[in-house]
Subunit: 489 residues, 2 copies
């Protein structure tokens, strides 16, 4: 089978696009910037959702659902919030179509809304308008709510999963009686995201805070996790915001304290989206296709029978049936690819393209010898093993693959993290890619100038970063901590 993907070296961006489409993950739709998430891609997203949903519930959160539409006036109430989102809002202005005199379907101008509705780009405003009704006393706090939803941001340049006009996400919105509690919540959710990215996606992430230029519109502090993709560019994988009392102020949400005082409520919000699919794909995959961590793979093991005659398939099927049951009993998802329309070589390439962690091949000779060929997707290594007790070995191998995928990504990041102390070095390294640890004087002006000249942005100010005296690479002004620069998606 000929290579179906452009190689990463040849054109990374084309490789990504090829892969998303050819592995049946997603495709562009007829609506500009909106994608169709295909069943195989959606099955991965569903696995992500299930794990995250459990993590949210284990940390005390409940799901709820708030309206898709937000009245325009709500939007204007928090000044920096509207400033951040106004330029990318889909606006509903009418609520009816009709036939014109020629029988053509047109918008009915008689059905114009008095107040335009914004399709939510994020839900702080509608939710805080609701929380006002729910919160009177300290006894009503905290409120710990999450919602799974679609949101729309009218992006001009879109890429499948990474930047689409409509995307799927979860957004947590919590309300607290004290600042400390809200900050602790924002930090807890950052840890949840980091844990998910590393343990399930196998993507090592930096944890830190955003500089003011990169902060969420309306936040006091934005925490983030940042991953490094194989092309040396950074990808923001999730954010958790401490919103202070900004939305409580804008929507007049106060509560009576234990001491009988009226105070504004403290807030957080936090989200991850289908963008994580992009991070997953770009962190591990290779020129043969997807490489999926076993914990998120819809199919963990594929079994390909090698046969010429019907009787051979029958004999293989009999042998394999028992194994399939044993694997299923262990909670391992397995597919027996017994199609007679395609040759084994075609099937091998297809399941490699789709990133199935383990492939077993069984032919007549294996039956005679009581063996099976085991191929792992991450290293492409093959070995012949005895059938007996193979289910335990497969279970163990899945764990090893999960660890290896993470380790590989970790080593890649390690090899592509650089400490840089001069402007010349900095500019050169930005071109080459990677996370660049450099000193910065802490001003928005400098950050902006560095961005204008190099396209590199401050991805994060590490939370656990060591304090270290130094001089800003751009201005030479004093700095107390290195921050992480990179070009980013």
């Amino acid at each position: 089978m000929a290579k179906v993907l452009t190689s990463r070296e040849e054109n990374y961006s084309q490789w990504y696009n090829d892969l998303v489409i050819k592995a049946d993950l997603a495709e562009n739709s007829a609506v500009r910037g909106s994608m169709v998430i295909k069943p195989y891609g959606y099955a991965i997203w569903e696995k992500m959702q299930a794990v995250l949903d459990k993590m949210f519930k284990d940390t005390g959160h409940q799901n709820a659902y708030f309206p898709l539409f937000i009245p325009k006036s709500f939007f204007s109430k928090e000044a920096s919030h509207v400033e951040g989102f106004a330029k990318e809002c889909a606006v509903v202005t009418h609520y009816r179509l009709k036939n014109d005199e020629n029988g053509k379907i047109v918008v009915d101008e008689d059905a114009k809304l008095e107040e335009e509705l914004i399709v939510r780009p994020t839900s702080e405003t509608i939710i805080w308008d609701t929380y006002r009704k729910w919160i009177q006393s300290y006894r009503d706090l905290p409120i710990l709510i999450n919602q799974w939803a679609n949101v729309v941001r009218w992006e001009m340049r879109t890429r499948l999963f990474l930047r689409t006009a409509e995307f799927l996400w979860q957004e947590g919105h919590t309300a607290h009686a004290t600042k400390d509690e809200a900050v602790a919540e924002a930090e807890t959710m950052l840890k949840v995201y980091a844990n998910f990215a590393e343990t399930y996606m196998g993507v090592p992430v930096l944890q830190g805070i955003k500089s003011p230029n990169e902060r969420f519109a309306g936040a006091v502090e934005t925490y983030c996790i940042e991953g490094l993709m194989q092309d040396g560019k950074a990808l923001q994988c999730g954010t958790s915001h401490f919103l202070g009392q900004n939305f409580a102020k804008a929507f007049d949400v106060t509560f009576v304290t234990k001491e009988n005082k009226q105070e504004l409520v403290w807030a957080t919000s936090w989200g991850v989206s289908t963008r994580l699919m992009g991070a997953l794909i770009m962190s591990h995959s290779d020129d043969n296709g997807l490489v999926l961590p076993p914990k998120l793979a819809p199919i963990q093991v594929v079994i390909v029978p090698i046969f010429r005659k019907e009787e051979e398939l029958k004999a293989i099927t009999e042998k394999v049936d028992g194994l399939i049951n044993k694997l299923k009993e262990k909670g391992i998802s397995v597919k027996f690819d017994n199609r007679d329309t395609h040759k084994p070589g075609f099937k091998f390439a297809e399941w490699e393209l789709k990133g199935v962690p383990i492939r077993l091949a069984v032919g007549p000779r294996d039956l005679a010898n009581g063996t099976v060929e085991v191929a792992r997707r991450d290293t492409m290594e093959k070995e012949i093993l005895h059938m007996e007790g193979i289910e335990d070995k497969i279970e163990h191998l899945l764990e090893q693959i999960q660890i290896n995928i993470y380790q590989k990504a970790y080593d890649f990041r390690d090899n592509n993290s650089f400490r840089v102390d001069t402007w010349e070095e900095f500019k050169a390294q930005v071109e080459k890619g990677g996370f660049i640890y450099a000193h910065w004087d802490g001003t928005s002006e400098t950050e902006q100038k560095i961005k204008d000249e190099t396209k590199a942005t401050i991805r994060t100010i590490p939370i656990d970063g060591k304090f270290e005296e130094g001089k800003c690479i751009y201005t030479g002004n004093p700095s107390k901590q290195r921050v992480v620069f990179a070009k980013a998606y």
Copy 2:
């Protein structure tokens, strides 16, 4: 505790609204016709989703996700489809806001879309536009896809869960090589819905087909399940459509058959929505609040400690901890309501309002006697039982409650189903409510006239209805089968 609900007898519709709000299921939002689904209501919906999702997967379906927005031109391609939905469409016309000269946030007229986008009221059009790209040969069929999504239909008169501008649902969209296969699919999904309604929701439903007047816009045949609410009105709980080749024709979706001929693809679509929450509430609940079937109750057992002193609570907690673990091991969800801010009577009323199937009360005397008070929500019966082995009794009691709830609703429907043969009787019965089995001459004109005069519609033409010669109650023309009339939500 005073009654918090209007009684059903006094004002059924007010009772429903009170219940939805006071049991913390949902509330109206600031956006006309859109509701906020609160955590307790959403937890029930999540349970419904989980069961349905498994049923869909067990019948071979996969989930995917298609865009929220549909280009207006797509909408116009299937004539009866656009006719059915044009009058209730939210239309996106612009993609940006801006500050006007006074600093006010306004729609940016420079950011007007060339073609308006419709917020999906249902997704046949965008999905069949996509399927055209996916289907070339009989080998690409069938396609068996479902999506969980939000949809918008601009209803003028809305009611929480029953009729809202935005609602949550699932929509299955399948593509087949033959008419028979598509019809079989539509019928299979009807059975899945009926099974779900009866086995999990405890709501007995009639299965049948819709008359042409009530058919889905674009369908050849609409199958439906219909429930009877406690006020004698019918509620359509789910529909499954055989779409023929209508959408394949409109979107030019053809395939090459095994015999190498080009043919149009056959289609179905099917859906249930958050409207099911309304059916669940109205089928079982009483003047004390919700009555939930155990299989869908977020909390199946609540334990209320009866105590005055801290030591008493401590002793009760110690005793109860073991029971909680035993119940959890059985997969029973249990809540220990140890709040010291409310009295037992308040807690009893609150959990009754929220429909928790079983309440256990444990006080100091119970500790001394090794007993517990067990109250079941459906019958409001109480009994004192020995603590030892109580977990098995609770498990059994939950099963009994599930059966009893269904039986009660079944008996209610049975007592409110009538065979009627004259127009006078018919008119009188419509006023009293219930399912009315009557002869109809099969014409849309008669159906419309009956609706105009009585507000009763044909809810369904029973699939397993016995053929029986008779005369139309309205025209006296011959009829071969009774159909089911009722006033409906």
